[in-house]
């Protein structure tokens, strides 16, 4: 049995451990994919809306005079929706920033839990290269399985999650505007009833997963797997085996 086949077998050495790692990683990857798609979809909608509505509203003491830039004037619902869409962008970015961590953490854990094994392998004559290769293969297998599962999960869940994000954000902003009252409230009431088309377009978001996104996602997962396991394995393989055995 060679280093590679040992790495593959190690990926499945314990069913509970394998399922847990795959579950955590695939949910992380799915969430990252969903957030990435949401961000992309929302950005593209914002651009669409910006190009279809007026850019500046001019108000005179005598009342509304008009607006510049062409298109339809925003209704109060539209104002809430477009604000919510920007809000969704912030939420999406903050979630996706946190999604890369579990992938790295998992790989570090795999290596750390097996410090003794690394020490034993070195004591019986394994080279640093063979130890690092074995761990990189193991994490690659786990990450690839998780990436496939995560991509399937993300593809199915991207639209429902996106809609939930938009509608939750929209509701909370409308509530805030209602509570605030004052000039803003007057403005939104005044503008109501006009330009329903733009608002409807914003609420009707649809995320699509292209092959390019899937391939980029898989490539990113592979890079994370290799870096995430090879770096700690390499660091540990530099430690003298006596130290590793003593620390257990």
């Amino acid at each position: 049995m060679g280093v590679i086949s040992r790495g593959v077998r190690n990926a499945f050495r314990n069913n509970v451990r394998t399922v847990s790692i795959v579950l955590i990683l695939s949910v992380s990857i799915a969430m990252t994919l969903i957030m990435f798609l949401a961000l992309k979809t929302v950005q593209s909608k914002i651009n669409d809306v910006k190009s279809s509505v007026g850019n500046y509203i001019t108000v005179s003491p005598a009342g509304i005079r008009g607006f510049e830039g062409g298109g339809n004037l925003l209704a109060d619902a539209d104002v809430a929706t477009i604000s919510s869409v920007s809000n969704v962008k912030k939420v999406v970015k903050s979630i996706s920033d946190r999604m890369n961590n579990p992938a790295d953490t998992n790989m570090v854990m795999i290596v750390r839990e097996r410090r003794r094994e690394i020490g034993v392998l070195k004591a019986i004559g394994a080279s640093n290269v063979s130890i690092v290769t074995q761990f990189a293969v193991e994490s690659l297998i786990l990450t690839l399985i998780s990436a496939i599962a995560g991509t399937i999960l993300g593809t199915f869940l991207s639209n429902p999650v996106l809609n939930v994000l938009v509608s939750n954000s929209e509701t909370s902003l409308q509530n805030s505007a209602r509570n605030a009252g004052g000039p803003g409230g007057a403005f939104t009431r005044f503008a109501g009833g006009v330009g329903q088309g733009a608002g409807a377009a914003l609420r009707n978001l649809h995320a699509t997963v292209g092959w390019q996104i899937i391939l980029y996602g898989l490539a990113a997962a592979v890079v994370i797997a290799i870096l995430g396991s090879a770096i700690p394995a390499f660091i540990i393989s530099k430690v003298r085996p006596a130290e590793v055995l003593r620390s257990e």
Binding site: E117, I124, G125
Partner: protein, 221 residues
């Protein structure tokens, strides 16, 4: 032959400078089963780590068959551990997801021996240490402590080393199983002309050895 000259190992433990092995010198001829006895913290395991090139000494020299291993670079140290040394640990330290046979084959894989030859040699060694054939494919967790230690001894012998280092080889075994392991190691030292150095608390094991050393506070007494 193993020759140790003025071997010292110091550690930094917090603010304190601890001398784990202090100016130790001894010679063990080829094919001898030797024991090192001493209380916990006397420096026996550190000495074993130094002999097995698992750690570097602060000063002093270790000659194995005339070669000074303390001057070896990393690559030569890997080769030394791979081909000249066999380790037997108190906790057996078998790789848990490999069968008994695969565990014995592992050091041979690192030495570049072909798969067919590895398997043949591993079967021979497992038979020699007295493991029954039905247990060859079992994982370590499905073997008793005594059986695991037999597998560990077979693994230590896999690359036909000139020196076997055993750290409390009977420490986790009952008396009967421990005696069998000691007998086995003595026989192997004789048959294969292999030098065995075992660190132990067990005075009865020490009585059966061809040579024995006692350590106290990092020194041989």
């Amino acid at each position: 032959m193993l020759k140790v000259m003025n071997l010292t190992k110091k550690f930094q433990s917090g603010e304190q400078n601890v001398i784990a092995v202090s100016n130790v010198s001894f010679v063990v001829p080829e094919g001898v089963f030797a024991t090192v006895v001493g209380k916990s913290g006397s420096g026996k395991s550190t000495l074993l780590s130094l002999l097995g090139a698992l750690d570097k000494p602060s000063s002093g020299e270790i000659f194995v068959d005339g070669e000074n291993i303390t001057r070896f670079g990393d690559r030569r140290l890997i080769n030394y551990r791979r081909s000249r040394i066999g380790f037997v640990f108190q906790n057996y330290n078998l790789i848990p997801n490999l069968s008994a046979l695969e565990n014995v084959m592992l050091p041979m894989e690192f030495s570049g021996i072909k798969a067919g030859e590895r398997s043949k040699q591993a079967v021979k060694l497992l038979k020699e240490v007295g493991l029954t054939k039905d247990k060859f494919r079992r994982r370590p967790t499905k073997l008793s402590g005594g059986e695991q230690q037999r597998v560990a001894i077979a693994r230590a012998l896999a690359n036909k080393p000139k020196l076997i280092l055993a750290d409390e080889p009977t420490g986790n075994l009952d008396t009967a199983a421990g005696e069998i392991i000691v007998k086995l190691m003595k026989e192997l030292a004789k048959q294969e002309n292999t030098t065995i150095i075992a660190v132990t608390h067990d005075s009865s094991m020490s009585e059966k050895a061809g040579m024995h050393f006692t350590m106290k506070d990092g020194k041989l007494i």
